[in-house]
C-alpha cells in the first residue's frame, strides 16, 4: 500500500551523519555495496564492471563540496543516501504498491517482487536516493540494512547498518530519532542537527550535523607565535648567520 502510515510511526529509525568528522574515505559506500549485493534479496547489479565505463546501482554516495572561501571556507565530505522521509513522495507516487513506508519503524522499502521498474519514485525523490538496478529491472534504495538491524543471527553489537559499522571516523550514527533518550536525538540536539532541503517539507528522518566552528585562537595553546632569534649579534652562531646570509 503506497499510502503513508496514518499515524506518525512511534519509532523512527534513521541515521545521523556528522559532516564535521566525515573524512570522505568511501568506506561506507563500499561496505553498503558489499552488504547489499550479497544480502537480501537480490544482487545490487553493475553494468560492465570491468570495462572502460562501468556503471551500477549504489545506495550510498559520498560527494565532496567546498563551502565558502578562504580561511572561513570548508571542504566538506557529504554522504548521501535515503533519508527515510516522513512525507515520502517516492512512496505515494508508486503505482504498483511496491514502495512502502513501514508503520512500525518508519523505514522506506521497495518490494522487489512487485516493482515494475517504471522509475517514477526516483523522479519523485528530491535527494536522488533511489537508483534503478538495470539488470534486475527494479528500483533499489537504502533499506537501513533491515537484514542486519533485526538479524538475530548477528551478535547484538553488529546489528547496525553496514555503513555505520564500517565508518572509521565514527561519522555515522544509527538509532531511533523518535526516542528522546536515544543517543542520536541527544547528538542532534547538542550539535544542531539539520534537515536537507527543509524548504521542501519532506521531513527527512536522517539528520546531518554541521561542521563545528573553527578554533582559530591558536595563541591559547601556549605555543610562541614565532621562534626567537638564537644569536642576534655575536658569537659563533651570529657569525655563521652572517656568513650564510651573504
Amino acid at each position: 500500500m503506497t499510502s503513508l502510515p496514518a499515524n506518525r510511526p512511534e519509532r523512527r529509525l534513521g541515521l545521523v551523519i556528522d559532516l564535521d568528522t566525515c573524512v570522505g574515505c568511501q568506506a561506507c559506500v563500499v561496505n553498503c555495496k558489499e552488504w547489499n549485493t550479497g544480502g537480501y534479496p537480490a544482487p545490487l547489479s553493475d553494468l560492465d564492471p570491468y570495462a572502460a565505463e562501468p556503471s551500477g546501482a549504489w545506495l550510498n554516495r559520498v560527494h565532496t563540496f567546498e563551502a565558502g572561501d578562504g580561511a572561513a571556507g570548508r571542504t566538506v565530505h557529504f554522504p548521501r543516501s535515503c533519508l527515510h522521509c516522513e512525507n515520502a513522495a517516492c512512496v505515494t507516487v508508486c503505482p504498483t504498491g511496491a514502495s512502502y513506508k513501514r508503520a512500525e519503524d518508519g523505514i522506506v522499502l521497495v518490494d522487489e517482487t512487485m516493482c515494475m521498474g517504471c522509475g517514477l519514485c526516483a523522479w519523485a525523490c528530491p535527494y536522488g536516493a533511489r537508483e534503478m538496478d538495470v539488470l534486475g529491472g527494479v528500483m533499489k534504495k537504502c533499506t537501513l540494512c533491515i537484514d542486519r538491524i533485526y538479524n538475530e543471527h548477528l551478535p547484538e553489537e553488529e546489528r547496525e547498518p553496514a555503513c555505520v559499522a564500517t565508518c572509521p571516523a565514527r561519522a555515522r550514527h544509527f538509532g531511533d530519532l523518535a526516542d528522546p533518550e536515544s543517543g542520536v536525538v541527544k547528538l542532534v540536539a547538542q550539535r544542531g542537527g539539520m534537515d536537507l532541503m527543509p524548504e521542501r517539507g519532506y521531513k527527512p528522518t536522517n539528520k546531518y550535523l554541521p561542521p563545528r566552528p573553527r578554533r582559530d585562537r591558536t595563541g591559547t595553546t601556549g605555543a610562541p607565535a614565532a621562534l626567537e632569534n638564537a644569536a642576534p649579534d655575536g658569537g659563533f652562531l651570529g657569525w655563521l648567520d652572517r656568513a650564510l646570509s651573504r
Partner: protein, 315 residues
Amino acid sequence: MHPASSVILFTTSAGVGYGLLFLLGLAVPTGLIPAERWLGLAAMGLALGAISLGLLASTFHLGHPERAWRALSQWRSSWLSREGVVAVITYVPAGIFAIGWVVFETADDAWAVAGLLAALGALVTVVCTAMIYASLETIRQWHNRWVVPVYLAFALMTGALWLSAVLHLFGPGTLWSDLLASASVLLAWGLKLVYWRAVDGDTGISTPESATGLAAFGTVRLLDPPHTQENYLLREMGFRIARKHADKLRRIALAVGFAATLIFSALAVLTSGWPAASAAVLAALSGSLGTALERWLFFAEAKHSVMLYYGDRAA
C-alpha cells in the same frame, strides 16, 4: 530529464487518441457528425488505435512490463495508477459507443450515454497523465499550474486536427470541425507560450546551500563528484540542453507545430474537395509532429533537484 522516446510516443499518441475520442463522444450523440459505418470505423479505429499504441508504448521502458497490471492497484495515492485505471475503464464506454456507431449505425439513447461517458473518460485520462508530471515537486518545470491546461489543449488540438482530416477523407468536411482545428492550434500554442514564460521566470526554491545545509559557510561548490562514470541519476535526471539550443528548438516546434499547422488548417477551411482534404491531413501530421517536439522539450528542459548535488545552482 531524459526524453525517453517511449514516453514521448505514449503522451503524444494517447493525446491524439483521447482528444479525438473526446470530440467524437460529444459530436456523434449530438448529431454534429452522422453515425455512418465507414466514417465510424475510420474515426473510432484511429482514436482507439492511437490510444492503444500510446498505452502500449508506455510499457516499453519498464524494467518488468509483465507486472504493469499491478499499476492499477494504487489509485488512492498515485496519479500514474489513476491514469491506468481511468484509461482501462474508458475502453468500456468507448467500445460500446464504437459498436453502436459502426455495427448499428446509431448514437441515440444508451449509445449516446456511452459516447458521452467515453468523452468524459478521455478528458479525465489526459488530466491524470498531466498530473503524473505536475504532481512531482522535484521538477519545477513540471510542478507548474500550466502543465495540466497545456496537456489538455494539445490533446484537444491533435484530436481536432485528426477529426478534421478524417471528416474530409471519409465524408464531407464540415466547417465547424475545420474552424475548431484552427482555433485549437491557437489555444494550445498560446498556452504553451504562457507556460514557457512561467518556467523561464521561475528560479526554484532550493540551492546547493539548502541541499547540503552548508549555507552558513558561504557558497557551496561541488569539488569532487561521488563517482567517475555516469550513473542512473545522471542518465535519467542529468539530461539537459544548452539554453541556446532550447531557444532554437522552441522556434522549430513553433514553426512546425504552430505556423505550418495553422496555415494548413486555414487552407482546409478556405478550400474544398481534395485540396481541403490534403491540407487537413498535412495539418494533422504537422500538428502531431510539433506536439512530439513540444513533448521532447517538456522533458529535455526539465531539471531535477537532485542535480543540486552535482553542480546545479538552483532547482
